[in-house]
């Protein structure tokens, strides 16, 4: 049978953002996948070099709306790394709290969207319903539902009001109960299980080869988590586990995310309890950042966010490099999508929780001579009809 090409995107409801995949298929089986990106490219690194450090935080927050704590947090880590700036204890707990809340909201968001992708809108609605209280907590803590603007070099921008900790803890308890219910429902659903189990397997070797990070890697048995590897903020003061599973399929990725949500809830509760007693300032005043270079990273919901800042003693970075987790996770499609049906390919593509705004990339198919492989859609559809007709005979 001839190889056909299914273009996915640039605009396709599977992807909230514009991306362009081309699935090379043989019948209904994916043979190869290619990706062309750049539809979301806004030139962050370029703009950041013309902004001061504080302005740059505003900018990196807008790399991605879902990890809008992870990027500023990694950036301040990088800036603090240049001079080894210490931050107050209370600020460390607040940073951890906001970061973990973001993980809960992001994982619930993914669970909902994954349900939507496999045509299970009820799961989508449920997951997003229980995501709302998390956003409400963000509103109480920072004043915004998204783009919290909490991070500053040397501390955080806003303090958590001690009077509100009680109500925050109450919301947390409620969320935990509800998420347990969803997790149970998702775990017990036989159709869901059969749809996700054994689909889009990413082997441990491939995960290491592609340098995958985050839940994508952890579902394949690679135990990599910045929170444990290089504990910053309050991560060495709180108690939590890293979730690692072995199979690397979509179901395991779901399980990792769900269990991680519970760990995050645990961390949030500990932080809130600590915030009742830990007093002190929330920000050290940082007047200037000396010349040098610094690496900052943070475990975003999707994996390690990496920021590299190079300074020359002025108030602007010479170079600000950003590497989002999806950037290294998306190439794993090449390993995990081969040889699976088209219908599964799409949930596999979604399982990485790709964030193209972070990544900036999309797919192109090349033939043997490295020419763009283009197909007349009309011809394709006729061939398909012909194929079907043959099958029906």
């Amino acid at each position: 049978m001839d190889k056909n090409v299914i273009p996915v995107g640039p605009y396709h409801p599977l992807l909230e953002e514009a991306e362009y995949f081309t699935l090379q298929v043989d019948g209904e089986t994916v043979v190869d996948i290619d990706l062309e990106i750049g539809w979301m490219h806004r030139g962050h690194e370029f703009i950041s070099e013309s902004k001061t450090f504080t302005q740059s935080l505003y900018l990196v927050e807008r790399i991605c709306g879902i990890c809008s704590t992870s990027h500023p947090l990694a950036a301040v880590h990088a800036m603090e790394d240049v001079d080894n700036i210490e931050i107050p204890l209370r600020a460390r707990y607040i940073r951890t709290l906001v970061g973990e809340l973001e993980r809960i909201h992001s994982h619930l968001l993914w669970l909902g969207l994954a349900g939507h992708f496999i045509g299970y809108d009820t799961l989508w609605m449920w997951a997003w319903k229980y995501r709302e209280p998390v956003l409400q907590m963000f509103e109480i803590i920072s004043g915004n539902r998204n783009h919290y603007g909490m991070m500053r070099v040397g501390g955080v921008a806003k303090d958590v009001d001690p009077d509100k900790i009680k109500s925050l803890l109450d919301i947390m308890d409620e969320i935990e109960k509800k998420i347990q219910m969803i997790a149970k429902a998702a775990n017990d659903d036989p159709v869901l299980k059969s749809r996700l189990k054994g689909v889009g397997v990413l082997t441990k070797k491939d995960a290491v080869d592609f340098c995958a990070v985050g839940p994508t890697a952890r579902a394949s048995g690679v135990s990599v988590d910045v929170r444990k590897d290089e504990p910053t903020d309050a991560y060495d003061l709180v108690d939590f586990k890293i979730i690692v599973t072995e199979n690397g399929d979509v179901f395991d990725k779901t399980v990792v995310r769900l269990l991680e949500t519970f760990e995050s809830i645990k961390i949030c509760k500990q932080c809130l309890e600590k915030l009742k007693t830990v007093n002190g300032g929330i920000r050290n005043n940082v007047k200037e950042i000396s010349a040098g270079e610094g690496i900052g990273r943070y475990e975003a919901p999707r994996g390690e966010v990496f920021h590299y800042v190079r300074t020359d003693g002025t108030n602007r970075p010479v170079r600000h490099k950003v590497r989002a987790p999806s950037y290294v996770n998306i190439p794993t499609f090449k390993a995990s999508c081969k040889g699976i049906p088209v219908a599964d390919a799409l949930i596999t593509l979604a399982a990485v929780d790709p964030c193209y705004c972070c990544t900036e990339r999309s797919i192109k198919i090349r033939d043997k001579n490295n020419e763009p492989y283009q197909l007349d859609l009309m011809k394709l559809s006729r061939e398909k009809t012909e194929q079907i007709r043959r099958q029906m005979k």
Binding site: V208, D209, D229, R310, V318, R319, R361
Partner: protein
Amino acid sequence: MHNYSEFISLMGNKILSKNEKQKRLYFEVGNENIIEVADYLFTKLGCRLSTATATETYRGIEVLYHFSLDKSGEYYCPRIVMTDKKNPRMNSITPVVRGAEWIEREMSEMLGVTFEGHPRPEPLLTGNHPQNIKVPLRKWRSNG
């Protein structure tokens, strides 16, 4: 606690200069040794390639790889400096570290570095771009 001396002595004179910080080791290597160093870091030490940064400085184009040793949270950052700003060339490490493919492609289109031996040296972000943007991260500095 953070002991790089073993690595440094092993690499010997391949390391041209180094800068040790608490958990980060920045060191400069020659272009001819980068593949060997990358292979050692990735295969022997079990490091993960976080990313690589290309910067334009007065000395030339610098490419800085960030290898993360996840067990201890340390960073090994080999740096390559290319003094020829017009036509910077260096060896690609993609044959050794598969995950470097996109990272090197992006550096190549952002700062115009040619990676020799890269399996697919085409632009990543600006492929099929209507305006045909060339090396945007160098534009404003290369005039001076």
